[in-house]
């Protein structure tokens, strides 16, 4: 099965990276987070409540909505900050040359394999953000760009909302024994779909070796 993939590209200042990543990833996670499941007898279950809150950006003219769970805020903040630092350190090392990187939010499900093969993570939705750092000369330019990036991110958020509501594949509700294969049950108050965040300072590689490795894995898992 091929994962549904979406790529967003943008150029922005170093200090805007963390907020741009947070705004988009929080929007995605808000849509892909359910309340905590509580199973009852005879296979019935009830679902907890997902709270939300407004988050203002300092370096981007934007307010976005995120899940009000403290745990998920920490995870996204940690990854977004690390990615931002990684890009900006690259900027310092290359002394002003073109700096770019990518950060991905992947929703996956775990597929148990037959012995002796290990379980496998199969992505079903991938959101890639490719970012390029730029340097602005004056404060006026920074102010204008602050608004421009805000508009750009607003368009992305609208696109995310429209995309989420299209009929597309989402893992079906599991039974209680298989809950951990679809959802991340480590959170105390919410239950997002299994997800992972990864980043790098070079574009995602699509080398022959990676492709062959993936083909072999898929073949053996059948």
């Amino acid at each position: 099965m091929n994962a549904r993939t979406q790529v967003f590209e943008m150029a922005l200042e170093g200090r805007q990276v963390e907020e741009a990543v947070s705004s988009l990833f929080h929007t995605l996670l808000f849509h892909r987070t359910l309340g905590k499941f509580h199973y009852k007898q005879e296979g019935n279950y009830c679902v907890g409540t997902v709270g939300y809150e407004d988050a203002d950006c300092d370096f981007v003219d934007l307010t976005y909505v995120r899940c009000s769970s403290g745990d998920i805020k920490k995870i996204v903040h940690k990854e977004a900050t690390a990615f931002s630092e990684c890009l900006r350190s690259q900027e310092r090392e290359t002394q002003g040359q073109a700096r770019s990187g990518h950060i991905s939010l992947t929703f996956y499900q775990i597929k148990k394999a037959r012995w002796p093969f290990p379980s496998e993570s199969i992505p079903w939705e991938v959101w890639n953000l490719r970012m390029e750092l730029m340097t602005l000369a004056s404060e006026i330019e920074r102010q204008l760009y602050r608004e421009k990036v805000g508009e750009l991110l607003a368009e992305k958020i609208l696109y995310i909302a429209e995309s989420m509501n299209r009929p597309s594949y989402v893992p079906k509700m599991p039974n209680q024994p298989e809950l951990d294969l679809i959802f991340d049950t480590s959170f105390a108050d919410i239950q997002p779909y299994l997800f992972k965040i990864s980043y790098g300072t070079s574009p995602p590689s699509t080398s022959m070796g990676t492709t062959v490795r993936r083909l072999l894995k898929d073949t053996l898992s059948i």
């Binding site: 929007t27 808000f30 849509h31 359910l34 309340g35 905590k36 509580h38 009852k40 296979g43 019935n44 279950y45 009830c46 679902v47 907890g48 409540t49 997902v50 709270g51 939300y52 809150e53 407004d54 203002d56 003219d61 934007l62 307010t63 976005y64 909505v65 899940c67 009000s68 769970s69 607003a154 958020i157 609208l158 995310i160 909302a161 429209e162 989420m164 509501n165 009929p167 509700m173 599991p174 039974n175 209680q176 105390a188 108050d189 919410i190």
Partner: protein
Amino acid sequence: MATATMSYQTSGVAPVGLTAQEQKDMERFGKFLSQKMVQVIVQSRLGEKVCTPCKAHPSPSDWFNLGIEDIPEVVIETRKALKGQLLTIGSPPLCVEISLKTVEGDSLILENWCLSVNETSEPFNRVSYAVYSRMSLLLKSIISVSRITPAYKLSGRQGADSFVLCYRVFCGECHGLGASTKNCTIGQVDTPIGLYSVVLSYRTQLALSPKDGAMLVKSDHFDQHLISDQYSPRLCRAADRKGDRGGESSSGSEPVASDESQDACRLFVNSPPGNKVAEYQNLLQQNRYSFDDGPKFGAFADPSSARRNLSAEFVLPELPLPTFMKIKSLKDVKKENEQRPLVTGGSAVVPPKDVDVTENTNQTNISIGPVSSSDEFVMVESLKTPFAEGDSSHDVGAFFRECQSAPVSLQSFNRSSGIATHEIGSQLEQFEKDLEGYDDLVQSLCIDSDESGK
């Protein structure tokens, strides 16, 4: 009976068609989807940051597994708009209109959110958690998108001294927002009883421009008691808090007057053409100067001293000037005009055409302007020449009378051109005769300049 705390079956055979209970559950889903949609939209325009907690165990009121608090007034307005009916296929959409209103009374519709129900493309055989979760997803999208429109930024800057945002909930077609509009479909949920769709239209240009269909309303257009902030989402929340602080249950607060949603409609909806003309006419009536009020004095002038300082010969009767002329209804004037033109002072006077006066038998129609009848012509000889002394035979008086009317013909055109024309003509003839001499002179000058150059 379906409640917000849903229990779901994880497996089972799908029944064919909907049972009575499923039908009822589905209708409740649709009803609460409407209510929650209006809630999140209005709350996003309060100008305040929203923060609701995540709960591991749900509350009975947490519909769609989302922490959406309810503002009682918004619930009431939504119910009024729906009139106790459910949204069904073919029924008018449920709309939430967000508008901006300035302290001067100008109003501008910023955005429209519409929830409609259409024919389902794939009718389900069961009411499953999938439908409920998709409605929850739709609400999340509405919450996310509500922060990215221009109206959200405006909501954070509203205030009693500048502008406020107001909302209106109704079932029907939305008013157009003009050319600079963006339309987007937030999402759709296919259910056994119809396809629910949420569409957002919002202005991208916020300048007040009549050509975009913006509605500009005069500040005195409405009664003052209707210009209240009760429909500002901000004050809905403030009123709600006051009730909570006073120990009263917000859910038990009495609703506002039942007709106020209709009043909000009158405030922010473009009036039909007929009413618009009547309102404009009323506005003109109000602004017209009424001569019945008597003579007006300038600013800072003392009326009593003004009368005292005037010599007797300059004191005019205290009747205002227009009373020299008969004040008639427009109908009478039109009748007279049809019979014969009214002539005063050498020019025909017709009733002014730029004033539309409603032919209302209950009103006294007053035509403003020099309307008179020859039968009651008032002699103007009593009016004396300003700055003149004595009688009208004085030089100033004579000059004044001459200037009162335009001359019949300008005398200068009747005079012959005479001497001046004759002299010019003879000069021209002489110049033509001496033309050869002038050419020789020019050539000699040119030769002399060449020799001097060498």
